[in-house]
Symmetry: none
Subunit: 211 residues, 4 copies
DNA sequence: TATGAATGAGAATTCATTCAT
DNA sequence: AATGAATGAATTCTCATTCAT
């Protein structure tokens, strides 16, 4: 989606531009995001943005892509895709996800807004694809659980998925909100509180889904 | 929020204006909603909108208020606030909510987008208030459940609330999506499917929360 | 300039409308004066204004006329046009003019703004006519003075007129400004101060013009 | 008051824009001045005006500032601030002022309208400051006169100032009106007439103020 | 005649995008 | 490639005037 000119930039500048864009989109929404501001915050000229991207929409679309890619990198580094069931997944990932939110609240917020449809029809395609991928993965987890006997098999996969998604999404939002309120480093107390929240959630989730 | 001029209009016109506004906001978001379009669809002149409301924002804010009020009216008519626990609440309301979505998909969609923060900071205050009210109600339901012994009392109310909200919100979204796809009247098959979805959800919810 | 409808109104209402109009024009200028405000302050419906006057301009023009006529009435009542010279005129009128400013600061302010061209080309004709009349009168005063020997006759009438107008206009502005600052009734001290100002002005004026 | 963009323009363009603005404001007043017209007359796009100034008001305010500054430059070049009394000041400046009016009738008209309060409260602050400065200067002239014995010292400075201002302002208006009627170059006859007017005014002024 | 809602022309302003340097 | 000034389409909002009751 970016033009060749953008790809040729050194990584620092690329990152600066993308972060400036994401910050602006996240703070003001697509319509109210101003190319001028993005350029300024990225330390480049307004015109340069148009050397890098065809138009505002292309910049937005790539912002989404860029954020997601960065995500994936971080997740991949942390959670080597193993053969887990949903509870393990939820538990094992929780500390990593917490870290991620703490280190990259901007990217996380942006991604969440995006998946929650805040940007409307602007990037339906990416959104759909993203949803498809994660659902596929979660369905596999559910399937794993059923095979292992940790998940009841008298309920349809789709419904279990819905249930699982509902609980985890809400939970992630809660964590995000908490983290955003942290001044900088979370206190030990906050960490403990978060941990306890995870455990309780898993308990409920597990009890709900198991046979 | 509307000016006196609006309040004096006959109900038909008021409704026409509000629906036109909501339709536009829902379809294009606040920024891309055009007063001109709203006016046209409501069958009034552009200038008239400004006789009714101070500006676009006031119109939006009142659209939210209007949608919510209409909601409340419908809900009040259907669900006499009884002494229920969460499961009953979920079950008992389901058919009515289904009806509501079917009859007023526009209002429902709009309200959902709104509560999901799609309109950003535009109406934070109303949003907060709305959230406060519904949480208060849900907490009471949870409390009822604990007293009756249908909900485990070794988990914090806040966490149970989170769990409950996660499941029900996701579920409601699913129902909404289904209903929007109906051409007009739902087939018997679709009704059965929906009913079954509700039951499964309650089962999971109940199993998760009960002791 | 007003329509027949206006003339048929009872005097109270007429006055109310005219004062509301003048107040609005004086406070906000022609462009920013709002018919709506005028109507409201006059206690009539906006539409009624258009029953009384063809349009905003006609209302303005008549406001000017009305203010001037009221002026004339007051002046006529006070200063029976006698055979004076400029100094007497200035002196004899001063207390009356002071009273007038005190009683009708609105009309006076409006008239001054008007004669000082604040309303641009809107009422050039009236303005010209007004100027012609007062100059004619002042020239007669100067002529009187020359005949009596109280004004030097080696200076052209036009220049004496200019001189006289310059001094008196400035002086009147000063008085107006003073009066506007009075809370309600002027104190004895303020009266004395004003009186003294008049006398000094006449002294200078006289010394300047006499032979 | 202008944005950085304006300051960076080459002087020609700046001047073109400012003159177009002043012409428009002077001809139609603030309210009726159209940005579109100004832009067109300056040979730039409507949007460019908004690159240069925040809004219409800022453009107006800077028009005033610009006019005054240009004034000052011309006056400074002509009238080296000497130790004069009022009469000398009036006389010595008269030819220069005449020239100025002839060369820059637009700026002069604009400045006069402005100081005479034609633009209402739009630029009260500048107006007040301007008034303060010129009064300060004139009071010094009067003081000089008193010390030298060319001005009577039995009259209060404030009253003398009023008197002086009244006469000179009126005179300047008269000159301005005359000059505006000149086709292009004034005839010898007109110059003589103007000269004679100045002399007569000084005579009256002098006789009025001296002891 | 009085009223006040309806109308729409008109103006300011914004900002994505283009373009000359 | 980078820059930032130039452009003008698009939109909100105002308010004098009209019009139906």
């Amino acid at each position: 989606m970016p033009k060749r000119t953008f790809n040729r930039l050194d990584d620092d500048k690329k990152e600066k531009v993308m972060r400036a864009a994401i910050e602006e989109f996240q703070a003001h929404g697509f319509e109210n995001a101003k190319i001028e501001s993005i350029a300024q915050n990225a330390g480049v000229a307004k015109g340069s943005i148009y050397q890098y991207f065809d138009d505002k929409k292309a910049l937005f679309l790539y912002s989404v892509t860029w954020a997601i890619e960065n995500f994936m990198k971080m997740i991949d580094r942390q959670t080597p895709m193993k053969d887990m069931d949903v509870y393990e997944y939820f538990l094992s990932g929780s500390r990593e996800r917490f870290e991620m939110i703490r280190k990259e609240p901007l990217l996380v917020s942006f991604a969440i807004d995006f998946t929650y449809g805040k940007y409307g029809s602007l990037a339906e395609e990416i959104n759909r694809e993203l949803k498809r991928v994660s659902e596929e993965y979660e369905l596999k987890l559910i399937d794993n659980g059923k095979k292992r006997g940790t998940i009841r098999d008298d309920v349809d996969d789709k419904i279990l998925l819905l249930f699982f998604q509902g609980v985890t999404e809400k939970f992630n939002m809660e964590i995000l909100a908490k983290v955003k309120n942290f001044e900088s480093e979370p206190t030990e107390e906050q960490l403990v509180e978060t941990e306890s929240l995870v455990k309780s959630m898993v308990t409920l989730l597990k009890q709900g889904m198991e046979r």
